[in-house]
Symmetry: C2
Subunit: 391 residues, 2 copies
C-alpha cells in the first residue's frame, strides 16, 4: 500500500480553561492507505502541529513533515520505522515536527494493525498483553479540603492507585503543599498507591524539592513526578540522591527517543513516563520501553486525554509484565470521551487491558466530533495550504 | 516601558533549494516599547514559529507565546529573564515555543540596549568584548574536487579557520567521506583550522563515526561537529572516548538551557555550539556560556544566516577571552545579507568584533526586505489570528 492521505483535525471544547487539563482540545490525525483508515492523536497544540505538517520547506533539514509521509509505502512495521527516520532526517531543525509525527505514527500503526488483522502490540513483537493497574489521574483541588474530597471519591470509586497533580502545588509555600499532600493521603487511606505530580513547577530548584521530601516520604508517595523541567538532568540526579529517598518519575516532555534515553541514563529516575502523542508515536515509545526494561527503569504511559490516546500509549509496554502501573484519565473533558465510540473500561479486577482487536482496537466517533471541529485555514502568498478537511 | 507590540515577518528567497543552507528564509521579529524598536531572528521554520505565537490556548501549560510577552514590563535585564521564565512556565507543552521565544528574546535585548544606550554584551555583565577568529562556514562540494576548490578559495580569502559541512557527507561510504575530508585539508593547507560538520547524519551510529576518526585525525580536524542527533548523549560520550581522539562539537539543536547543560555534562564535548535563534534567545545562551566556562567547555556560536543573527549569537560569549573561535557565514543567500544595512566586517587582524553600539548594533534594512515578504494569513473559526504586519 501507499499512504494516500494524512488529514489533521483541530478539535476543541467550546471554552478552554486556564487549568492543567490537556483534554480540552485535540489534534486528531486520519491516515488512509489501500482502502484502510488509521487514527492517531498528537498530545500537542493543534495549530503549530498542523503548521509543521504543511509549512513550506526552509532547507534540507527543515522540511514540512508532509514531505516524509505522503506517498510512502506501508506494508509492514519496518515501513513505519522508515517514515519515522525520514521525518527526523528531513525535519530535525523543525522543532514541532516530533509532535506532528506522533499522531501520524500512531495512525500508521492503527492502520497497519487493521490491515494485518493484529493488535498493534503484536506487531511490536509482544506475544501477550498484560493488564495494568490504573492510577486515577487528577488535579489537586484548589484547597486541601477539596483535595481530600477528591481523594475520598477516588477511594470510593475503587481505584488502587491515585495521582494528584498540578493545581496550586508548587506555587505557594512548602506548608501549603504539605497540607495538600496530607489531605490526599488522608482521603485515600493508607492502602492505596498515591503519586504526586509537580508539573515541573520547581523548574531547576533542587532546594524547593528537597524541602518537600520529608512529607512525601511520610505520606508514602509511590513516586514524585516532574519536580523539574524536562531534561533538567542535574536537578533530577541531585534530587534522586537526596534523603529521604522518594522515587522519581518523569519523561512526558520528551519529544524523541534520545531525550528519553538521556532521562533514563542520567536523571536517576525510577519511572520513565512516555506520552506516545509527543515522543514521536508508538515507534519511538517502544524503543524507550525496550531501553527502560534493559536499564531497570519502570515504564509508565502518560495519558490525560482520549481512549484513542490511551490505547496508543499502552501498546508500547503492554507486553512488559513487570511494569504494572498505567495512567488512566478519570476526569477528561467530554471531547476526549467523544473521540471514541467505546471506552477501555476496567476489567473485573479493576485493571486496564488493551483491546484484543486489530490496530488500536478503538473506533472513532466521527459523527460526535463534528461539533468540536475548529475550522482552520492557512494561506501562504494567497494560496490555501491548509483547510479543515471533511470528517 | 511596557511591551506594546510583537510582530513576526516571514521572509523567503523566491526559491528554496533542498540543500543544507538555513539562510534561504527567515522569521524576523520586531518588538516595540516606549517609542523604541528592537529586532530579532528565529532560526526556525517561520510558519510553525508564527503559529506558536498566535495559537489558541490548549491548557495552562500550553498557551501561545503571546500570552507571556505582550504588555509585560521592559526596563532592565531582569525583565527579559522574567519573560523567558514565564514563556517556559506557560508554554512548556508547546514544543515550538522555544524557537518562537528565541527571536523575541533577541529583539527585547536589542530594544533594551538601545533604550539604556549600551551594547547588549554590557547588559549581560561583560566589561569588554573580545574579537574572535571567524571560521568560514560552508557546505561541502558535490565532489571532492569541488570541495578542494572551495577550500582553496577560502584559503585565498584569508580565513584562518574553515568549516565544511553537510552536502554529500555521511550519506555514502567512508571512502567517499575520506576523499572530501582530504580535499578540504589539501585545498586549505596545513596551517589553517579545519572543522568538519556531519549535520547529524550518523544519528546514533557510533560505528560509522568511529570508521572516520582515523582520517579526521590525519587531516588534523579541529573538531568533529554533530556526528549524531542532538541529545544522543550515549553515542556522543562513546565516541568522545574512542581512539584516535577527535574533539567533538555539538549543541546547535538545543532548544533550551537544560538541554545544552545536558550536552555539556554528558556528551563529552570539547565545544558547545549554541544558536541564539533556537536556544531561547540571548538569555538562555548567556546561561549556557556561563556554564560552559565553569565546566571547561569552549563556547562557540552557531550562525548561518544574517548579521542580525550574528551579532545576537556573539553577545552571549563575546566577553569570554579564552573562547576565540566564532562561526561566520561566508556564503549566505542575498536575503540574509539584505536583513541589515551594514555588516559585521572582519577587522584588520581578520577577526570579528561585535559592534560597539547600543543594542545589537545592526540596523534593519526594512526597505530591502519588502520583496522577500511571504504574505501569510491564519484563520481560526473564520477569525484572522495572524496576517503579515506592515514592515
Amino acid at each position: 500500500m501507499k499512504i494516500e492521505s494524512v488529514d489533521f483535525f483541530y478539535l476543541s471544547m467550546p471554552e478552554i480553561l486556564d487549568i492543567g487539563d490537556g483534554s480540552q482540545d485535540a489534534a486528531l490525525v486520519r491516515v488512509r492507505a489501500g482502502g484502510w483508515e488509521g487514527w492517531g492523536e498528537c498530545e500537542a497544540a493543534p495549530l503549530p502541529t498542523i503548521a509543521a505538517y504543511v509549512c513550506p520547506m526552509s532547507h534540507s533539514a527543515c522540511k514540512p513533515v508532509k514531505a516524509s509521509v505522503e506517498g510512502m509505502n506501508l506494508n509492514e512495521p519496518g515501513d513505519i520505522e522508515k517514515i519515522s527516520r525520514k521525518v527526523h532526517e528531513n525535519s530535525f531543525d523543525l522543532l514541532q515536527a516530533d509532535h506532528t509525527l506522533s499522531g501520524i505514527d500512531i495512525a500508521l500503526w492503527d492502520l497497519l494493525g487493521k490491515y494485518l488483522n493484529e493488535p498493534v502490540y503484536k506487531l511490536l513483537g509482544y506475544k501477550k498483553a498484560y493488564s495494568k493497574i490504573p492510577y486515577a489521574s487528577q488535579l489537586f483541588g484548589d484547597t486541601p479540603e477539596q483535595t481530600y474530597q477528591k481523594a475520598l471519591q477516588s477511594k470510593q470509586s475503587g481505584y488502587r492507585a491515585v495521582k494528584f497533580g498540578w493545581g496550586p502545588i508548587g506555587r505557594g509555600t512548602a506548608a501549603m503543599d504539605e497540607a495538600h499532600f496530607k489531605a490526599a493521603r488522608e482521603g485515600l487511606g493508607s492502602d492505596r498507591y498515591l503519586m504526586i505530580d509537580i508539573g515541573t513547577c520547581w523548574v531547576e530548584d533542587v532546594t524547593a524539592a528537597r524541602e518537600r521530601l520529608k512529607v512525601l516520604k511520610e505520606i508514602n508517595a509511590y513516586w514524585l513526578e516532574e519536580p523539574f523541567a524536562n531534561m533538567a538532568l542535574d536537578a533530577y540526579s541531585q534530587l534522586a540522591k537526596s534523603e529521604p529517598r522518594v522515587p522519581l518519575a518523569a519523561g512526558e516532555g520528551c519529544n524523541n527517543f534520545v531525550q528519553a534515553a538521556a532521562m533514563i541514563s542520567h536523571a536517576g529516575l525510577q519511572f520513565v513516563q512516555i506520552d506516545t502523542g509527543r515522543v514521536g508515536g508508538i515507534t519511538a515509545a517502544k524503543r524507550v520501553a525496550d531501553l527502560a526494561a534493559k536499564k531497570g527503569v519502570t515504564y509508565v504511559n502518560h495519558t490525560f486525554t482520549s481512549h484513542l490516546a490511551l490505547s496508543a500509549s499502552l501498546q508500547p509496554y503492554v507486553g512488559l509484565k513487570e511494569d504494572i502501573i498505567c495512567e488512566y484519565p478519570v476526569e477528561p473533558k467530554q471531547l476526549a470521551l467523544d473521540i471514541t465510540t467505546g471506552h477501555i473500561a476496567l476489567n473485573k479486577s479493576g485493571e486496564v487491558a488493551v483491546p484484543e482487536k486489530p490496530g488500536l482496537g478503538v473506533d472513532i466517533n466521527v459523527k460526535a466530533l463534528k461539533p468540536y471541529l475548529v475550522e482552520t485555514d492557512i494561506f501562504i502568498k494567497g494560496k490555501r495550504v491548509y483547510s479543515t478537511p471533511d470528517l
